[in-house]
């Protein structure tokens, strides 16, 4: 465990050094994007009742995490593959999971201000208030785990060019074609059924129902589904990272 933590903190330092020039830029883009989703979608949807407002204001931080985990991470992994960073990482005497955790920490940290910004903008724009549960913290972490796990899985398993395409499809899916920013009832039945098997609606639900707890309380299902997706993604990643030619 000491070895793990030591490796983690050194790798974290390495990652921050490596990314220090791009990080501020990422911060800004992420924050603007999260706030932009709230404001932009408000233009798309002319009338906002409380449900619409709630979906938009909690969907934005969800999309922020999805972008980082399932778009930025696969693209970064693809780039690292091309640059030969893996030959180096593979020969380092560090636990594989510590390597992922160090990377993921930086990326999730990049998404955090955007999530807060989205909520602040939403309260101002829609004049809405939330019944926030402390469970929002594990919810954020689980959504992050799910997104990051899947993201690494794609980055490691797919060829670099393919990873870029997949991640672009994911962002369009999350923004427009998933019950994240609007309720699932608005989708055709067959498509809503497909989403039962995808992680997006569970990510949105975990965020939404911990930021504004429904009368029935915080549900357990999305947490379980997200944990499963996250672990599956990490398992694929670990398998590929330790595979020997």
């Amino acid at each position: 465990m000491r070895h793990w933590l030591r490796s983690y903190s050194l790798l974290l330092k390495w990652t921050i050094l490596r990314l220090r020039t791009t990080l501020p830029f990422m911060f800004i883009v992420q924050t603007l994007m999260a706030a932009g989703i709230v404001l932009g979608f408000a233009f798309l949807i002319p009338t906002h009742d409380r449900v619409t407002a709630l979906y938009l204001s909690t969907g934005a931080p969800t999309v922020a995490l999805i972008t980082v985990g399932m778009v930025l991470i696969p693209q970064m992994v693809a780039q690292q593959k091309l640059r030969g960073l893996f030959d180096y990482q593979r020969a380092m005497p560090v636990p594989r999971l510590a390597m992922l955790a160090a990377d993921a920490t930086v990326w999730v940290a990049v998404a955090l201000p955007g999530m807060v910004a989205a909520l602040v903008v939403a309260t101002l724009r829609f004049d809405i208030s939330f019944a926030v549960s402390p469970l929002v913290v594990p919810a954020v972490l689980l959504v992050a785990l799910g997104a990051v796990g899947i993201g690494y899985g794609i980055g490691y398993a797919a060829k670099p060019e393919l990873a870029g395409i997949i991640s672009n499809m994911i962002i369009i899916m999350a923004l427009m074609f998933a019950p994240v920013n609007y309720p699932a009832e608005r989708l055709p039945d067959w498509f809503a059924a497909v989403h039962q098997w995808l992680p997006f609606q569970y990510m949105a639900q975990a965020m939404r129902e911990t930021i504004d707890v429904p009368a029935t309380g915080v549900p357990a299902l999305p947490f379980l589904v997200l944990a499963a997706w996250g672990l599956a993604g990490l398992a694929v990643t670990a398998r590929i990272m330790t595979r020997r030619a």
């Binding site: 390495w14 490596r18 990314l19 020039t21 640059r83 030969g84 030959d87 180096y88 005497p93 020997r244």
Partner: protein
């Protein structure tokens, strides 16, 4: 023995035999040079030792332990400078070397001290604080060398550390390789720089198509060549070159390429041959000449041959020198 390799064979899927029944040993404090053509299987061998590639058959022991069963142990005990250029984007040589030393287990103080030492020894100070994307290829390569050498563990392996490096710094680098050996580390050094490698290594292994074709100290590899010298003459023109080639008191047939003549001569006849060459020059038949010991490169080429079996030289006399 710190590193023992026995009967190691590696066949990649859908590939040829990259390593074919390789056996070798490296003890603490020894520097082993690994030579061979492109594709001879050198990188494959190193990758198996650090547990990145799985052998098809044969055994590897690092201090008695098996890197195939325990790759994490192998990565802890062995430092490797991979053949690929180090990823230094956004990070300076000093940061890269120091952080890598820490990751490899050095204390903060030792990491800093080793980093300073190596930066000074390899004259990297002018670039020590320049980010990777602005470094020249040679400085990047030297940084990668330092990243492995700073905290070398018990076995350190360098895969072509002198590529892109200028002659002055190559010397400094060989100096550091020797120092690692002197400090008790087992060093494996892959290089194409056959002549210079001789200064740094105690023993050499020459690989060809995955097999060990020669193994020994530089003196052993020279064998009969040890008491031979090599006379090289640049004649005034080609016909003269052919005529002169027949005149030399040689121990093996001369090789003529254009105006150049290369002849192995016995050490005992060197004085007479030099006098002869001087006469030829005074007579205007020779532009320049030199006498040198047979280089390891000559030995290497004789053992491994040229890639396509022949080159632009033309044999005079009976047998071929570069068979």
């Amino acid at each position: 023995m710190l590193l023992e390799i026995d009967g190691l064979t590696k066949m990649y899927k859908k590939g040829a035999r990259a390593n074919d029944d390789i056996s070798l040993e490296v003890d603490a404090g020894q520097v082993l040079g690994l030579l061979g053509h492109n594709g001879a299987g050198k990188t494959t061998l190193l990758n198996q030792v650090v547990g990145l590639v799985k052998p098809t058959s044969g055994t590897i022991r690092i201090d008695g332990r098996d890197p195939v069963a325990d790759p994490a142990m192998a990565r802890r005990v062995c430092a490797l400078q991979p053949q690929a250029q180090a990823p230094l984007t956004g990070i300076t040589p000093r940061q890269a070397i120091e952080t890598m030393a820490r990751i490899r287990g050095a204390s903060r103080q030792r990491a800093r001290q080793r980093t300073d030492e190596l930066i000074e020894a390899l004259e990297l100070a002018p670039w020590a604080s320049t980010v990777g994307e602005k470094l020249s290829g040679g400085v990047q390569r030297l940084t990668a060398f330092c990243m492995a050498a700073a905290e070398p563990g018990r076995v350190v392996m360098f895969d072509e550390p002198t590529n892109d490096v200028d002659p002055v710094r190559r010397r400094l680098l060989w100096e550091q390789v020797r120092a690692l050996g002197a400090a008790g580390v087992a060093v494996v050094l892959v290089t194409h720089n056959v002549i210079e490698a001789e200064r740094a290594v105690q023993r050499l292994v020459i690989l060809d198509q995955g097999r060990v074709v020669a193994h020994g100290t530089p003196a052993e590899l020279r064998g009969q060549d040890a008491d031979r010298l090599r006379l090289e003459v640049v004649a005034a023109d080609e016909p003269t070159a052919h005529r002169l080639a027949g005149d030399v008191d040689a121990v093996e047939p001369a090789v003529v390429a254009g105006r150049r003549v290369a002849v192995p001569i016995a050490t005992g006849t060197a004085t007479a041959t030099l006098a002869w060459a001087q006469e030829q020059r005074d007579a205007g038949r020779v532009d320049e000449f030199s006498v040198t010991p047979v280089s390891l490169e000559d030995v290497y080429i004789r053992l491994v041959g040229t890639e396509n079996g022949a080159d632009a030289t033309e044999e005079v006399g009976h047998a071929a020198l570069a068979a």
